[in-house]
Each structure stands twice: as C-alpha cells, then as structure tokens.
Symmetry: C2
Subunit: 326 residues, 2 copies
C-alpha cells in the first residue's frame, strides 16, 4: 500500500500481473473509432471507453487491484481513502465485492451523483471541508481507528491497476503512435506510460488550464503543492502525486492544457460523434487533440476516456444546451 511500499514504482511486468489479477473482475471496455470524429480531428483516434467501466470510471481497475493484493497478502480489515468521487465509488464496490467496507472522505462540495455512487456501492461517506489539509486530517483519523488507507493515485498497486486499460487498448489496436490521458493525481497517466513505453508510443497528458499543477510542477522541478485548482473538470483537481510526478517527468513527452470552454465543446462533440456521455475530465483528451493538430494530425492516436459520471442536469447546465436547437 502507499504507506508501506517505500515509493516503489511498478514496471510493465507489474501491470501484466495486475491484469491477470483483475481481468475477471473488471469490464473489458470497448475501443471505439468514429470516422466522422477522425475527419474533424484530422487523425485516427481510438478511444478506450473506461466511461463504460464498472462504477463509470477507470478507477475501478486500480481499486480492484489494491483489494486483490490485500487478499493475496492475507490482509484483513476495512479500507479508507479520500476522493473527489470516482476513486471512492470504485473502492466502495471493489471492497464490497471482497466482503469489506470502504470509508471515503469526500469534500462537502462533491457532486451529488458521486456522493450517491459511493453510498450506492456500499461505501461509508465522511464529509470534510474542501481543503487538502481537512481531507488529510479526516483520513488520518480513520486510519487511527484501524482502517487501511488506499491512496487514490500515489500507490504502486493503484498505478499498476490503472495501467491495465492501456494494455487492453494496445491489444485491441496495435501500432498506436501516440497515447493521451487526462492528469489529475497522475495515477492513470503513470500506469498508461509504464504500460505503453515499451511500444515506442509517444505519451501525452492533458490538464485543465485551471488545474495545471503538473505543468507548473514540471516547470519548477518540484510538485506545486500549494496550487489552488479552479475548473469544471472535478475529477482533475487533485495535486499530482510523488510517484506519479516522477513517472511523468521521465516518460511523458508533453503535458497539454485546455480551457473549460474547450472541455465543454469536446463534451458535445463526443456526444454527437461517439454517442457517449463523458464527464469534463474525460473530455480534456478530445479537446487537446482538437486543439493541437500540429502534434496529433495524421497520427494513429489512442485515448483513455477516463469516466462518464456526470448527472444529466449537470451535463445540460455545463454545456449550455438546454434550449431547443431548431
């Protein structure tokens, strides 16, 4: 677990082992290509639809893997974490499927659908103020009570689990030239980078302009821990983790940024072409590819569509498409 593995960073074999452990528990999500979207983007884009993963996000892979390792190691007991939502819901279900309970610290301003999801999957929600300090304090209190902490992204088992999506993507679509994922805490991009580096794929990350803590951290050469995020992409407000930052610095070719408006447009474009509802965090990858033809144009690109947990009312309000189009 994150508290005890001394900063270990998984390698490709760890990700293959993780896939063997969780393969029967996670959904092998479809990979979708749409020629119409390709025309608009000017590249061949293959989307790994983790928005169709159980609990509606890739997070279920990492959480399921962390729990699987606990079972392997004979570690009993309940788990605890802090999460803006998707990791909490994923851990809640992964724990329940293994006969455990997940205790999830969530900021009071979390979206309704994500709070309901954590509870719906059997998790216990513990609210706290929307600050990193309050979050850490609340979690520490739970750990004192004996819960085993599962960090949302700065954890070797979580990173290995998240990397399994890229493994399946490569199996479905060999010879990708580029891969892109969003960056929140960095669990998905880390696992993806470790999984795909062997194939000589160029790895890109994307952050909302209002949550570009990774870009700032790369410029500074150290993690911008004091960064205050402000974006509609609620899944990407976390500050990049230690292990994750090390992996990104070493393996990621470039971290791009997109505005909230570009995210909104990408949400609508994705609906109209791929027929998928995706949360703002996921739309960042489509927005980035559209924004940077000089990088992606003419290439064979793989994207991890990270999640689809957004309330219809939030979707309509965010994209401003509540009036009749005719």
């Amino acid at each position: 677990m994150s508290q005890t593995d001394g900063g270990y960073i998984p390698d490709l074999s760890d990700i293959h082992l993780a896939h063997a452990r969780i393969r029967k528990l996670v959904r092998q999500t479809p990979v979708i290509n749409d020629p119409g979207l390709d025309e608009i983007l000017g590249c061949r884009l293959f989307c790994k639809c983790e928005n169709l993963q159980r609990t509606g996000a890739f997070k279920f892979r990492g959480a399921t893997h962390a729990i699987a390792r606990m079972r392997e190691d004979g570690t009993a007991g309940n788990v605890a974490t802090h999460s803006s939502g998707n990791h909490g819901a994923a851990l809640a279900l992964a724990a329940r499927l293994d006969g455990r309970t997940a205790h999830v610290v969530m900021p009071e301003n979390s979206s309704r659908i994500k709070i309901d999801a954590v509870r719906g999957y059997g998790g216990q929600v513990h609210f706290c103020a929307a600050t990193n300090e309050a979050r850490a304090e609340r979690l520490e209190a739970l750990v004192q009570q004996g819960m085993i902490p599962i960090h949302p992204y700065d954890d070797a088992n979580i990173i290995a689990g998240q990397g399994t999506a890229a493994l399946e993507l490569e199996q479905a679509v060999p010879s990708l030239e580029q891969v892109i994922t969003p960056i929140g805490g960095g669990g998905l991009i880390s696992g993806t980078a470790i999984a795909t580096r062997a194939w000589g794929v160029s790895i890109y990350g994307v952050e909302p302009s209002g949550a570009a803590d990774t870009v700032e951290s790369l410029l500074r050469g150290e993690i911008a821990t004091a960064f205050q995020p402000d974006t509609i992409a609620d899944g990407l407000r976390a500050i990049v983790g230690q292990r994750n930052f090390r992996v990104i610095r070493e393996l990621v070719k470039q971290v791009l940024t997109v505005s909230d408006d570009e995210i909104r447009e990408a949400m609508t474009l994705t609906w109209q072409t791929l027929k998928l509802v995706i949360e703002p965090s996921s739309a960042t990858v489509i927005a980035a590819i559209r924004k940077h033809p000089e990088i992606f144009g003419g290439h064979k690109v793989g994207a991890i569509i990270s999640g689809g947990n957004i309330h219809p009312a939030d979707w309509c309000a965010l994209t401003g498409t509540s009036s009749d189009p005719r």
Copy 2:
C-alpha cells in the same frame, strides 16, 4: 429489393449470409451489462449497443446489406428512400461507401441532427409534407427519374441485415431467455425474431402508446394504415410494413406499449447506469422491461439498443433536466 422480391421473407440462413456480406463494413457493437441496472430492473439485461453502430443506429446494417446485394447482382445506379432519419443516414453512408448517391425523402419536421446526418454522409435530402401520401409521391417521382428504391423496413434484404445484430448478441451472450426490440416499421423486430427463434427465445416488441399501430393492427388482424402517430419517439412513427406484420404475427410473443413519460425516465436511467445517450425510440425497451417485471423479472434478457441520434439540446429539453440537481 422491396419492389421485386414478391414479398419474400428471409430465413435464418439469409441472416447468416447477410452477416458474412456486411461483417467487415459494420461495427461489431459492444454488449453491455450493468449490475446496478439489473438491480433496478430485477433481471439480467444484456444491451446490444447499436447506438454505437456507424451512423448511430442499427439501420446501417440493413442499408449496407441492401447495397451489398446490389453490387453482387451487378445493379448499378443511385438509390432512393423515405425515412424519418436513421435509415436515410445509414443508406447515405452505405451508398457513398459503394460509390453511389442516396436520395432521401424526409418530412419537413424531421429533427435537425437527422437532416444534418443524411447530408453529412453524402445523401441528397428531398423534403416533403409530413404525410405518408406526400412521402410516397415524392419517392415515386425519384424512382421515375431512375433511382432504385430501398424501403426502410418492408424489404427482405433490409430485414436480413437488421437481423445480424441479434446474431452478434447471441454470439456474445448465449442462452438468452427473452429478446426485446422497439417496433417502428418492423425491420428490426422482424430480423431479430427470425434470427433468434431457433434458440427458443421469447421475442417481445415495444411501441410508444402514441404510435401503437402494430398493437392495433394485431387486434384488427390487418395493418392499421390510417394510424396517426403522436410520440416523442421520432424513430417509431412509421406504420408497420407488410412483411414485418406477417413476421410479428407469427413469431412475436407480445407487443408492449410505454408512455412518453416512461420513455423519458428510461432515457435518464440509461444515462445514469449504462452511461449511454440513447434516443427515445431506444429507451422504449428499457421502459418496457421496467414496467413489466411480471414478464421479465428474474430472466436473462437481451435488448437491442437501436440508436443514439439525439441532439444534446433535445435530450435536455425532452428529459427536463436542464436545471441544476443540487
């Protein structure tokens, strides 16, 4: 083609041949199950996601098959049809991929997204008044000009093509006990019934209460040609076809009806559980399963999710979820 095959109704072997012809041209769409949705519906539901088919609907299968047969038979020339939208878009793309042009007669009140789709796929749109007579006249005029008519549903090649979705569903999920599809003109239910009867599956159809012409036709023992549809499910306003009616009478166990409000609720439920945007026509199957636990409860059910072509603004307006949920 519908004008020349003397009312021929395809059999299972025709559907297997159709699949062999179109397999490389259509998308093998994913089959999705969601345990959360199963809990709500009280059955095990496997959704064949034709909303993720090329052109956003199962119609691309039938249209691609009709064109493939023309090529096989050495029939040159352009094609024509009338369509509320999805068949028109499907035929437009299928024709373009074969170097032909599709001329599509559409009612003036067709939804913007469907008109744009037909044009976007290279089809020529010919508007007419929103009556069956005006539609038939306009099409006849095109046929006089030498276009080859491809009927949207009352056509053996179309029915065989639509049946290929059920073949793939059964390959993905053997031992289904029940299958359900929407009924518009009856192309999908006919192909599905012919494809699945061999497996002893009980076949159900569903219509909006405001477009229950098939239910009325079954009661009368003849097609209710004068029926005036009134429903938000714009894909299901057609009157059931001759061949289709014969197949339904022989093979479909029951045709259910759902209200527009039940359709709206099912659209939102599908978003929240399957993370898919589906058009009202597709939501009828989810609504029917939810409405009839005495039929589907405890069973292993397959559903064809027929299409996902709805403008975000229309989705938001129809489901009344444009305000913030908190």
